[in-house]
Symmetry: C2
Subunit: 298 residues, 2 copies
């Protein structure tokens, strides 16, 4: 299969639905909504929403139920975007550039950026409980909300960002680094695939396999992120390159060197694909996405 | 009925359940959880959770279903606490004192405070979709999640805080001020009562009446908040008194004077109680709470 075409098509679906679902920048709250939209429509890779759709497709019973995962995919992108806005704040990583554009707070100010993040996080749960996702059965919605709240919460993404802040500039052990990544980025990636599976009505075993897939590509994704920070340019990335070594962050290349890190990423992809061995060709997009994740240049 | 005893009892129930449900400050994420707990257990008035319980009691069919509103009440308090942490940040109101204690960011630093807020907001949706609230039927949980996400979101509480930031130090019209209050504080107060009604399985008419009650006491609450900022001391309030006039905020007393503002608050309470006229004695706690809200000293 052609992963580029697949990605383009799926991204387009996500962009279109996001444009449909997102609040318009009109009325009394226009400025706040504008700040949310600025980062949400800044042209991200949309990896989490696409993983959600591909997860649904893998477990799909053949009636294109995967399309019902679109509002869930949009909610995941809202949550991911909120996390980028808050991570970039002066009090956190203090970054100026994201997705090739000035960061939210450099454009709208710090207060507005904090609130844009808060707004996107809250709006994600609005999408998951409102009309947007009304086609999903209530028990499925509850499970999805629970999965996302857990993955994004104090023992997941927020907790991971908190560990990252605490350890900034410190040397930490590999085990701690794994936990940091697993919570900061891995949890939401796994949740994205798992929520897709839930939409498609996957059985327990299927869902467990898709979660395993998510865990492995989450790891691969993080290693490649670290490698790109060393190897790519700021223009390629659309965010500041070399910022990890500047801030003294412990990364895969800093711990294991570039060559070993690349091998580890490939191994993680191999494991991810192996987790899908009971799936038929419907899981081909997930398989291709796994390879795409290590081969990407930004 | 004795409102003090009622409040003490209900607050105790909320405190106990919060203590049960909140994450323990152990393990890898202990510091993050500690920062969340610091503000959550700083001894707030717990008005929103008590309104939720009293709303459930008013519409209760007599089997103490109102007790099933406790996890919802706890989620509301998590959301309210997150909003206080973020409002107090240096980039927002830059306050040092809250609930009689140093604000979250003065104790844990700005990054940790932002994340503590994010964590509490996300955790609220965890409570509403997880085991804590599993006794509620799924359609009820979805409606409650939707109600809270809307009330706390870009067209509600976060949007209101954004308006507050935008208009800081500016003279604004009364109509704009009403919208600001309705979104910043009113929406979550009304949602608190409405969610209680949903737990108790209130009919449409009952729920609408309880929402009207919520709207009126939301207004009364705000006017009294403004009055207390003028009349009370910092020691009484547990947060900085006089901060509104210092920051040039438009308030009820600044627009209408103290005496007229007090009359407006009493009228709003009168309307709130009038909205309950089809309810029997089960709504007595709500009636008493309305009076308590204007008579409170902090």
């Amino acid at each position: 299969m052609d992963i580029r075409t697949y990605l383009d098509e799926r991204r387009r679906l996500v962009e279109d639905r996001l444009a449909d679902l997102m609040l318009e920048p009109i009325g009394a709250f226009a400025q706040h909504i504008e700040a949310m939209r600025y980062s949400l429509f800044a042209g991200g890779k949309r990896i989490r929403p696409v993983l959600c759709l591909a997860g649904a497709e893998a477990a799909d019973s053949g009636e294109q139920t995967w399309r019902r995962a679109l509002p869930v995919a949009c909610a995941l992108e809202c949550i991911h975007t909120y996390s980028l806005i808050h991570d970039d704040l002066p009090a956190m990583d203090d970054d100026d550039l994201r997705r090739g554009k000035p960061t939210n707070h450099t454009v709208f100010g710090e207060a507005a950026a904090i609130l844009a993040g808060d707004g996107l996080l809250t709006f994600a749960f609005d999408l998951l409980s409102g009309k947007a996702s009304a086609a999903l059965p209530d028990p499925t919605r509850i499970r999805i909300i629970q999965t996302i709240a857990r993955a994004a919460g104090p023992l997941g993404m927020v907790g991971g960002q908190s560990l990252d802040m605490i350890h900034q500039g410190q040397r930490i052990e590999y085990e701690e680094l794994r936990l940091l990544h697993r919570s900061k980025t891995g949890a939401l990636i796994t949740a994205s695939v798992a929520c897709g599976a839930m939409v498609a009505g996957a059985g327990e075993e299927q869902e467990a396999a898709l979660r395993a897939y998510g865990d492995h590509i989450g790891l691969a994704f993080q290693i490649v992120d670290d490698l790109l920070d060393v190897e790519a340019t700021t223009a390629d990335l659309g965010k500041s390159a070399g910022s990890d070594s500047k801030s003294g962050k412990v990364t895969y290349p800093s711990l294991f060197g570039v060559a070993t890190s690349r091998t580890m990423a490939r191994e993680a992809v191999h494991e991810a694909v192996a987790a899908l061995d009971r799936f038929d060709r419907q899981a081909d997009p997930l398989r291709a996405l796994a390879h795409y994740i290590v081969d990407r240049k930004k």
